[in-house]
Symmetry: C2
Subunit: 210 residues, 2 copies
């Protein structure tokens, strides 16, 4: 059975997955790059980077993935919907290399980029979006790419099979929280924690099969 | 120099240090005993318990401590101030064995219990309370014992030298949060994380001396 997976999703110790305000100049607001510095230091990101536990987790990002689902605020800064020339943050060759389904209340025609990435803009419930992505993934897994609002919605709907979180030891104080409204969600998962020498903690939630 | 320390302070993955509502029957509300099960399983709590990393951390609780400061809601359930016979949750021989300063807006006369514990009820700012506790501690360290409101106030006032947190992989969803209003507080500390085989993660914040 294909799985629905989340990878390299980084949160602060106080549970924020982005700072504020989100803008063209600062996609993560006052968080800057602090939530992903652990990843920039790995081989996954930089050939001269580290090859330890952070890298092992980071590399899972693309393995066996056939489509991604992302939220509107991950695709662009506030107001991107009014800019017909906006094609995402990632330039000509986005790092997805699969169909990507962008959830938005203001859909537009699909956008084909280099390297196998096509953005489809859809207004759909989480389970409808997952069906569309699973069909496009053709037997491979679907990644839910964020941001926190979309991850939270998919967790609340019980649609996630595997969640890899990276807890960074900073206190952002404000931004968008991952955990709101998810009381008891851990009961459906086996949870494992690993502290990395880099200072982050990797948490994996694997859906129970019993 | 004596230090101000916090030990065995347990929070859920979403940052709650207690559930709700707090009551005589359920001091931690809907959290029940889930935040401290890791501790009940150690030798610190139970002679037949484990003696690994959880126990090593737990045992630091009393080492070199000469006084404790706690909040009113740790001392008793809502309304304890109206009950003259309330002497705390801990019976005749509380586990503190030092003077304990209970912060409350409704002070009452001091209460001497067995085993060296005396409860002093004071209305004071965090730094005033710390001065009183340091004097009583006679050169030893002062422990800030919780709850989350008091821990947060002491962190915000920059009065904490050592903070040991235990992150339990459950999502409480509601209760009293530890982290509100503490943006950037980690900048004054070296932060270390250790995952325990029991499933919890120990986080230590040690005040930077530079
Ligand atoms: N920490 C990490 O690892 C990580 C990972 C990915 C992204 N991020 C960051 O997270 C931030 C974005 O997260 P976010 O929580 O603000 O937003 P988001 O989850 O990216 O997007 C939420 C938006 O998507 C649209 N949407 C969601 N569900 C929909 C549905 N069922 N139907 C139609 N539209 C739907 C809505 O936008 P409209 O109403 O405008 O259409 C909604 O406001 C960015 O800063 C990004 O960089 C962080
Ligand atoms: N997770 C853990 O490891 C841990 C550790 C300890 C306790 N707890 C739990 O935490 C809960 C209590 O925490 P909480 O955040 O609700 O309350 P708390 O921190 O124990 O107490 C807060 C109360 O103390 C009094 N207070 C605080 N500062 C004061 C000051 N400067 N001057 C005078 N009074 C002051 C006020 O009460 P009044 O206005 O009523 O006087 C205030 O409402 C309990 O459920 C307890 O079991 C958890």
């Amino acid at each position: 059975m294909p799985r629905t997976r989340i990878h390299n999703f980084s949160i602060s110790l106080d549970g924020f997955a982005t700072g504020e305000p989100q803008s063209l100049e600062a996609p993560f607001g006052h968080a800057g790059q602090r939530l992903h510095q652990w990843m920039f230091a790995t081989r996954f990101w930089d050939p001269s980077g580290s090859a330890g536990v952070d890298d092992a987790f980071a590399q899972q990002f693309a393995v066996g993935i056939g489509a991604e689902i992302m939220g509107s605020n991950k695709f662009g800064p506030p107001g991107w919907q009014d800019d017909e020339s906006w094609t995402g943050w990632w330039g000509e060759d986005p790092p997805f290399h699969t169909p990507v389904f962008v959830l938005t209340h203001r859909p537009r025609p699909a956008l084909t980029m280099g390297g196998g990435t096509t953005f489809h803009f859809i207004e759909a419930s989480p389970s409808e979006a997952l069906s569309a992505a699973q069909e496009a993934a053709d037997g491979l897994d679907v990644r839910v790419g964020g941001g926190p609002t979309v991850v939270r919605d998919f967790l609340a709907a019980g649609l996630v099979d595997h969640l890899h979180l990276v807890q960074v030891p900073i206190l952002l104080g404000r931004g968008v929280r991952l955990w709101d409204g998810l009381e008891g969600v851990e009961e459906s998962f086996d949870v494992e924690s690993v502290a990395s020498p880099s200072g982050v903690v990797h948490l994996t939630f694997t859906r129970r099969t019993d």
